[in-house]
């Protein structure tokens, strides 16, 4: 990230055009198919990932608290099971993190982008009225450029 550019872009962003926020229909986005798909898929992943890691950590915690004899068993040339189980927590945490990042980049990010693209095109009040159509087209084109610029930035 070139340091100067981001800072300048950010300063520009702190002074939005009046009414920019209010022109988005959030409920409509929330009901849209893309959005529902995004949250459903992300929630499914998060539920599965949480279940796996917290069950594994819970089992480890319960064993560490209650099963001292078992944890002290020497395995694989004299190392205690407690050490291997603790290390497995690290590897599991790494694996889940990696899986989420991969999933987010491949599946969630494109959906987010599509929803953001359509936010200007379909869900603003600009798009509602015929007499605003020209203005809306302009806004849409502008939004596309912005989104493209954002894409470019996040790609880096």
């Amino acid at each position: 990230m070139p340091d100067g550019n981001a800072a300048r872009a950010d300063r520009a962003a702190t002074a939005p055009a009046d009414g920019a926020t209010d022109s988005v229909d959030w409920m409509r986005i929330e009901r849209s198919e893309d959005f529902r798909e995004l949250t459903a898929r992300r929630n499914r992943f998060i539920a599965a990932a949480s279940a796996v890691t917290f069950t594994a950590f819970g089992v480890y915690l319960v064993l560490a608290v209650f099963a001292h004899g078992l944890m002290g068993t020497l395995v694989l040339g004299g190392v205690p099971l407690a050490w291997l189980l603790a290390m497995s927590q690290v590897f599991l945490t790494w694996a889940v993190t990696w899986a989420y990042l991969r999933k987010a980049d491949r599946d969630f990010a494109p959906l987010e982008q599509r929803i953001a693209d359509q936010a200007t095109a379909r869900f603003t009040r600009d798009g509602d009225s015929d007499r605003d159509r020209v203005a809306a087209d302009g806004a849409r084109a502008e939004a596309r450029t912005t989104v493209a610029a954002t894409n470019e930035r996040s790609a880096r």
């Binding site: 990230m1 340091d3 981001a6 800072a7 950010d10 520009a12 962003a13 702190t14 939005p16 009414g19 920019a20 926020t21 022109s23 988005v24 229909d25 959030w26 409920m27 986005i29 929330e30 995004l38 949250t39 998060i46 990932a49 949480s50 890691t53 950590f57 480890y60 915690l61 560490a64 608290v65 944890m71 002290g72 694989l76 040339g77 004299g78 190392v79 205690p80 050490w83 603790a86 290390m87 690290v90 945490t93 790494w94 889940v96 993190t97 990042l101 987010a104 990010a109 987010e112 929803i115 953001a116 200007t120 869900f123 009040r125 509602d128 502008e142 939004a143 954002t150 930035r153 996040s154």
Partner: protein, 544 residues
């Protein structure tokens, strides 16, 4: 300086530490020239990359207690200490899965930004500022006391000047260099810490022919309780206490304001989640090394070395370094340990300055109207100086007698039972409202403080469990009670309040999930600071 350099100063560690300090000053000078606006001050201009932020989170998170403290606990208690280490790492999964991207998508500088999105701005910001300041102040005092004790032991400067020295550098970084300087101090410290970890691990393993089996056998034979060292049961008085300790870490991390603030320094949500990925990798790798190094300290220093490692085993690593590599290596490791503290306290102070200047001053005192950025940054610097100064005074007043681990426990308890419930409920519960946030945060802070005061290590004149009025229910770390109480208070407060915020819930939900209108990402739909509430009702667009 002559006063500071009184009797017993160890020149070699001091010289190496001075080199590290000089390096951080150069960074601060460089950063100061690039820091003037509020975004630059608190969020480093949102120019930090995911990789850099990952290192900085690792540097922000791994305090001296991660390095010296955890290794010391492994030295003293064996595998029991692994539980705290793993809890501290697993804690990043809730941050990754629930908070990192959503914070970046919906906030600006502080966690109050996320709350005030849906709730009445002034009470919500006040409550969030209370939660942030409570965590920061307690954690800061703990770190300062720890720093004073360590510097005294490692360099020989006595407690009070040592605390002032650490405090002065912390304030220099924050006031002049803002978040950019803080970030780079954290990155460099994380680099030093990882290097020290690798070197120590390799040296320990080499001593035992790279055979972990030999290492563990030798270590266990040097402990009074061979079975306990390898199997557990030594560190905690009660099983409930051990569970509670683990839970405090797992949920407390997700409510630490100085960690959450780091997500505002990156350009977008992708970088935010990527930075957690790097942080998890680095912290996990470091904890793997701490597990080995702690056992190595037991194997090499042995029973005979227990006396010299001090209370809590904090000096196990320095003594191990001395045994492995002599005076020079000891000096290097000491300097790394001290750099570790500086990076953490700087991160804490800058998050507190955000709570005071951005939340309280600009949005509560100035009501978001007259405040301008220049003023906000000035107030932030004054706030940083005041909070830092207060922490220095408290640390000196309490002296080395302050129970550091009780203070750290308190900080994590408050984070887990005040900040964490409010954030989670704001992001995921449509019914949540201002009354709930305020009651939840205030209750979380008070209950944590009360239960810590009643806890066995703090309650006066009673080191035994039965000494506390709570009897055998008193825990060293009461998180297992505080967290449910914090959540219940927030939920009950919400249901008693009549305010409904479902409308803004939908906006926050969509924004946090998609990143539409996130600060500094796209200039379309950036949230207007004022007049949101009335407008939100008007937004209910007619069906097409």
């Amino acid at each position: 300086m002559t006063l500071v350099l009184a009797a017993g100063v160890k020149t070699l560690p001091l010289a190496i530490f001075a080199v590290v300090l000089a390096g951080t000053l150069v960074i601060t000078y460089w950063a100061a020239k690039r820091t003037s606006s509020a975004t630059e001050f608190w969020a480093a201009g949102r120019s930090v990359t995911g990789l850099q932020n990952g290192w900085a989170i690792a540097g922000d998170y791994m305090s001296a207690s991660s390095f010296l403290g955890f290794a010391g606990l492994v030295f003293l208690f064996g595998v029991d200490a692994y539980v705290s280490l793993m809890a501290a790492l697993v804690a990043f999964l809730p941050v990754l899965l629930f908070l990192a991207e959503r914070m970046r998508n919906s906030g600006k500088y502080t966690l109050a930004d996320v709350l005030s999105f849906r709730l009445r701005e002034r009470p919500a910001r006040m409550a969030a500022a209370v939660g942030t300041l409570a965590v920061v102040l307690v954690y800061l005092v703990a770190q300062m006391v720890g720093a004073g004790v360590l510097i005294q032991a490692l360099i020989g400067i006595s407690f009070t000047p040592a605390v002032i020295l650490v405090g002065a550098f912390m304030l220099l970084y924050v006031i002049f260099g803002g978040m950019l300087a803080t970030t780079w101090v954290q990155i460099i410290k994380a680099g030093l810490l990882m290097t020290a970890g690798v070197v120590l691990t390799v040296m320990v393993l080499a001593k035992f022919g790279f055979s972990p089996g030999q290492l563990f056998t030798r270590a266990a034979s040097e402990h009074e309780s061979k079975e306990g060292f390898l199997g557990g049961g030594l560190q905690f008085d009660t099983k409930l206490g051990m569970l509670s300790f683990g839970i405090a870490f797992v949920l407390g991390t997700a409510g630490l304001p100085h960690i959450l603030m780091r997500f505002f320094t990156v350009p977008n949500a992708k970088a935010a989640r990527g930075s957690v990925g790097w942080a998890v990798f680095l912290i996990g790798a470091f904890y793997l090394m701490v597990m080995i190094v702690g056992v190595g300290a037991r194997a090499i220093l042995g029973k005979a070395g227990e006396e010299a490692t001090g209370k809590g085993g904090n000096l196990a690593i320095p003594n191990l370094a001395d045994a492995l590599g002599g005076q020079v290596f000891l000096a290097v490791i000491s300097a790394v340990a001290l750099a570790t503290i500086l990076a953490v306290v700087a991160g804490l102070v800058i998050s507190a300055s955000g709570a005071v200047a951005h939340d309280v001053w600009s949005n509560v005192v100035r009501k978001g109207r007259e405040a301008n950025e220049r003023e906000e940054v000035w107030v932030a610097k004054i706030a940083a100086a005041s909070i830092g100064g207060l922490a220095i005074l408290l640390a000196i007043a309490g002296g080395s007698g302050f129970n550091v681990s009780a203070l750290v426990g308190l900080a994590f308890c408050i984070a887990a039972s005040a900040n964490f419930p409010a954030l989670v409920l704001a992001l995921f519960w449509p019914r949540f409202n201002t009354a709930g946030a305020v009651t939840g945060i205030v209750t979380g802070v008070l209950v944590s403080a009360l239960l810590i005061v009643l806890s066995p290590p703090v309650w006066p004149g009673a080191d035994t469990v039965t000494g506390s009025p709570l009897g055998s229910l008193a825990l060293e770390n009461p998180a297992i009670y505080c967290i449910p109480i914090g959540f219940i208070a927030a939920i009950v407060g919400t249901l008693l309040g009549h305010e409904h915020t479902e409308r803004t819930y939908h906006e926050l939900f969509v924004r946090s999930q998609t990143g539409i209108g996130a600060e500094g990402v796209s200039d379309r739909f950036t949230r207007k600071p004022r007049a949101r509430r009335g407008a939100a009702v008007a937004t209910q667009v007619l069906p097409k």
